[in-house]
Subunit: 304 residues, 2 copies
């Protein structure tokens, strides 16, 4: 059963036990463009106590660099090398794990975040934000010449999803079983300040359904994201905690990686999903209402 | 096991046994805009022998009236009251089975075929081909006022599928569990003359995935289509045969309705799916390569 954090001592013990704090962002630090109350202060407290702070997000619409500007805009201290996005992890996966030859290309369903991270890794791509593919004009195979150098299809959240991109991606995957089917992440929904919208998993769902097969998913809860972090930062899983708002991504991700987990209730997961007979089988180590609750640690001296 | 039709007598027996012949169209009579060789002749032979001929299609991009023009263009004799499309069946379902109140509206993901059939049944709708919803501009819930009179979301093949329509449909269904979730059909793919494209089921897949629930599907293999036909035509299921190219839609539809079934191999189903250890559990009564094979009945006298 999850431990409910409530007393000053509960939070102090938590601070003592973990050196590395991994944070999901949407639903934990903010919702859309609205900061969760106290989030900035809590991150400052952790840094003041010399904790390693990292941001692990499935959001692939932004590259790490442009995600950094979101932190800046909201006044949250963050450094590019503390930010791990699923677009970045996907690019690293394609170059380092798949070792896709340099003369091959990725067909992208996704936004500039994916394109920037692929570029950064020196991976060629087509599709994505290319105006040719961003149209609501009818798509016909008759007017299309597939690019024989496509070696992978990578799907992420794409708010310009259309039939042309779905049809091309479908045909690349259908015609050549060697073409890898990758997804930045499979979140079913995408939280905005005004409510939920379909997530990256939903944007890729037409391909799953038409092909009858699942993509290799890179983001949380898959281990690929953690492998990416491990490659850059040395940390002890036993002294690392993953803070998130989603049981099936964040908390499962922490569990898969042997980390401790803290669930906050400012995002997707509701109280009813963690208590009672219909509670999820994914049980976090700790639960607190909001990351802001950790503000009780404010006046703690660093030597405690 | 399915009976392979091959001799003149096989085809003559088939002709004798069935008075009502239900045809799927795409993959049986034509592929895209290319007629299957001999299809016109075979339909003429059946009509000559006083058989009832009906066309039962999951294609919801066209209304019955505009589907009729497709028959005309290809030179295939057909009458509007012989054509049963899933858009028509969906409209009938909404008005006659759901009995949706007249002051309620349908939010449509789909093309003009659905709109025309809803109009014909006197059902109000929004979405669909409305230019406001057919945009690749970013969608935000902040700029949207949901229409409180929406009582159902109906999804069909929509080659102008976009994030705005998916987001609105998702939110109608998410916010009010009384809003019905309907699909014209759930075909995973859509056959064109040049190859496969994602089908209606794939267009609706983001909603399934984001909501975690399935729509009520109207088209084949669901019984709703057959109920529609029964309401207009009197026929004896024992003397009725369904001719189709898809095991999981056409053939399953015939079986669900207690009809006999004939599989043709000019469309989706390949020989490997009906023979050998990996054969589908859906077994048609008869198999023939192409509907054109029935041309052997050409010189048969009507009294035979």
């Amino acid at each position: 059963m999850a431990t409910r954090l409530s007393t000053q001592t509960d939070y102090e013990n938590l601070l003592d036990k973990y050196d590395t704090w991994l944070f999901d962002c949407d639903g934990v630090l903010w919702e859309g463009d609205r900061l969760v109350e106290g989030a900035i202060e809590v991150l400052q407290i952790l840094r003041h106590h010399k904790k390693s702070v990292m941001f692990v997000t499935n959001n692939a619409t932004k590259s790490r660099k442009s995600y950094k500007t979101k932190f800046d805009k909201l006044g949250v201290e963050a450094h590019v090398d503390e930010i791990y996005g699923s677009a970045f992890a996907a690019a690293v996966y394609i170059s380092s794990v798949m070792k896709m030859p340099k003369d091959k290309k990725v067909y992208v369903i996704g936004m500039s975040g994916i394109e920037e991270e692929l570029q950064e890794e020196g991976i060629s791509f087509i599709g994505g934000t290319d105006p040719i593919d961003n149209t609501l004009q009818p798509f016909s195979l008759a007017g299309w010449t597939p690019d024989p150098s496509v070696g992978a299809v990578l799907v992420g959240l794409d708010t310009s999803i259309n039939y042309t991109k779905l049809s091309k991606a479908f045909n690349y995957l259908l015609r050549d079983s060697e073409v890898a089917f990758l997804a930045t992440n499979e979140d079913s929904t995408y939280p905005t300040a005004e409510g939920l919208l379909p997530g990256a998993g939903s944007v890729g769902a037409p391909l799953r359904y038409s092909l009858g097969r699942d993509p290799i998913s890179i983001g949380k809860p898959a281990g690929t994201m953690l492998d990416c972090i491990k490659a850059k930062h040395d940390f002890d899983p036993k002294r690392t905690i993953m803070v998130g708002d989603r049981l099936n991504t964040d908390i499962q991700f922490g569990k898969n990686g042997g980390l401790s987990t803290l669930l906050v209730l400012t995002g997707i997961t509701k109280e009813s999903e963690i208590t009672g007979p219909n509670a999820s089988p994914v049980v976090p180590d700790y639960v607190t209402k909001s990351i802001g609750d950790l503000r009780v640690l404010k006046n703690l001296s660093t030597s405690s």
